[in-house]
């Protein structure tokens, strides 16, 4: 499996590198896109508002989690974001007839150019975080980024699997994953109080923002174990959901399954 993964990465990126104009355009525009977004958020929340500065490190940390998690996943397993499309277009079918798990084959079938821009941006922000917040906070952010990557994996798989059960499930899935990314980048846990905090645990951003940030801020073992265990459970559940989707598809065929 490992050798297949590295081979896929090598060949996907060889294909990207064969068109350098496209590669650089993709990377540059994604970096510009992200800078614009971060600038806009900063403009809205912090520019000329000294009373909000206390939330700035929180905002930076979320940026690290979002970009590293999202960028890593799309760079290494770019097919997962497009899982819904792969199912909808019938490209998953031939994968079902091979001796490998179709989810793995779908995941390695693509690698995103623009994701490298996200990943680099996340790493750069992490570097800045080490300077701005200090070593311990930034180290927890770095570790939490790994967990967030796994969390995004679970969300991508679950969202993509919807294509087995809904017409235009692919576009619904894409909307869910992109919304999760957006929510991850908003400093929501600092905004919501009382009962309204409940929503933070009900949307997918619970895995990618709420739980990791609670551990990073509180730095206690309880939050750590909650974050790890819930992420792991969600990952397992999402793969089970995918397997259920495949079983359903095999039993009743694509058209009837919807």
């Amino acid at each position: 499996m490992i050798s297949l993964f590295f081979k896929a990465m090598k060949h996907n990126w060889s294909a990207q590198a064969s068109n350098p104009v496209n590669l650089w355009a993709g990377l540059t525009t994604m970096i510009v896109n992200n800078i614009l977004f971060l600038y806009g958020m900063w403009l809205m929340m912090f520019a000329g508002k000294p009373q909000n500065q206390v939330i700035f490190p929180y905002y930076l940390t979320l940026t690290v989690l979002a970009y590293i998690g999202w960028g890593t996943l799309n760079f290494f397993l770019g097919g997962l974001k497009e899982l819904g499309e792969i199912i909808d277009d019938g490209k998953l079918e031939p994968m079902l007839g091979t001796p490998r798990h179709p989810l793995f084959l779908a995941a390695i079938s693509r690698s995103s150019v623009t994701a490298l821009g996200d990943l680099l941006q996340g790493l750069f922000t992490l570097g800045f975080l080490f300077w701005y917040t200090g070593f311990e906070w930034a180290l927890r952010a770095a570790f939490a980024s790994v967990i967030v990557t796994i969390a995004f994996t679970a969300i991508f798989i679950a969202a993509g699997t919807l294509a087995f059960f809904m017409t235009r499930g692919a576009s619904v899935g894409i909307f869910i994953v992109e919304s999760t990314l957006s929510f991850t980048m908003y400093p929501v846990t600092k905004i919501l109080e009382g009962n309204s905090r409940l929503i933070l645990y009900l949307i997918p951003a619970a895995l990618t923002a709420t739980l990791p940030m609670e551990w990073i801020e509180n730095a206690n073992w309880a939050d750590f174990f909650i974050m790890i265990s819930i992420t792991a459970i969600c990952c397992v559940l999402s793969v089970c959901f995918f397997n259920f989707g495949v079983k359903n598809y095999r039993a009743s065929n694509y058209i009837s399954a919807k």
Binding site: N12, S14, L96, P99
Partner: protein, 316 residues
């Protein structure tokens, strides 16, 4: 050993509660020996693709079972012995070169190192794609891509190749080339080939045996010659006469004249099982005498045979 076994295969698709389920495949039974090339034929909606998908594990049967080289369909062991080609669905990664595709697909099937290199070289030469190895899949023509698809399906030396419409969309030259290379490969490796195609010249060129399916049930399983059944003896005779005033030969009951609209070209239909060919030619020769310029004899085509069968099946 049997390469492919289908035992009491059923495939039902669910319908709204008030309706009976729709059976795409109903109690299908057949087996194919190692090294056979078999055509799997039927009209549109007969259940061919559903059957192929059940054999390779993409779909699970509602009941019944199937095996590939003694292994349960859909199992990892079965998939390792199976190659798949879908004419309407590419398995290649369009953004990669052909070599990169073959390299990755080898890895999927656990073919690595020297064995992989030898296999790619051998198949590239056999299927004449050596000069395409460095080209990106999306830059190739359909014919070139289909040969690459088949190479990709054979990279792991499968014992069985399931080909669903492999020549669809190809021109005459590309089809002939593909048939040639498939024949060479099959002769070399003695693998089993199950082929579905709407192009009957593929069937005639490659297959010895044919399984005919309609409404999910097997209608015929035997040789191509046997498929013709009653039509095996049917012949059409075309006469070119120099005398435009020559009338058609009407007096021989078992030799039926066919109107052509051309005064110089006369056609007749007869069955060698009812009247010997020698007698027919003798009578025609007597009738036309010196005005007989040319005589051609045609067998009934496979298209016609299948067309007649499909029509009969539809009526039933």
């Amino acid at each position: 050993m049997k390469s492919i076994i289908a035992k009491n295969l059923f495939k039902a698709y669910p319908k709204p509660k008030s309706q009976e389920p729709f059976y795409a495949v109903k109690d299908l039974n057949f087996d194919i020996n190692e090294g056979d090339i078999v055509a799997f034929l039927g009209p549109n909606g007969a259940g061919k693709s559903t059957t192929i998908k059940m054999l390779c594990g993409i779909l699970t049967p509602t009941s019944g079972s199937s095996e590939i080289v003694g292994k349960h369909s859909g199992s990892k062991e079965a998939n390792l012995k199976l190659g798949l080609v879908f004419g309407t669905r590419s398995q290649l990664y369009m953004h990669m070169t052909i070599y990169e595709n073959l390299d990755l697909i080898s890895e999927i099937y656990y073919v690595t190192g020297e064995e992989k290199k030898k296999r790619i070289q051998y198949l590239s030469e056999l299927f004449q794609i050596e000069h395409h190895l460095k080209s990106r899949a999306r830059t190739l023509s359909l014919g070139e891509r289909m040969r690459c698809e088949i190479v990709a399906a054979l990279i792991h030396k499968p014992r069985v190749l399931l080909a669903d419409e492999p020549t669809i969309g190809l021109d005459v030259v590309a089809k002939n080339k593909l048939r040639e290379v498939i024949k060479s490969w099959q002769k070399e490796e003695k693998a089993t080939l199950l082929l579905t195609s709407h192009d009957l010249s593929d069937v005639e060129a490659l297959c010895h045996r044919c399984i005919l399916i309609d409404h999910g049930q097997k209608q015929y399983d035997g040789t191509l010659t046997g498929l013709k059944g009653d039509l095996a003896g049917l012949r059409r005779i075309q006469i070119i006469t120099a005398d435009k005033n020559k009338i058609l030969m009407n007096h021989v009951p078992l030799v039926k004249p066919i109107q052509t609209g051309d005064e110089y070209v006369h056609k007749y239909e007869m069955n060698t099982q009812q009247i010997p060919m020698a007698e027919t030619i003798s009578k025609l020769s007597s009738h036309y005498g010196d005005s007989l310029q040319d005589l051609q004899i045609f067998e009934v085509s496979l298209e016609e045979v299948l067309g007649a069968r499909f029509t009969k099946m539809a009526v039933q």
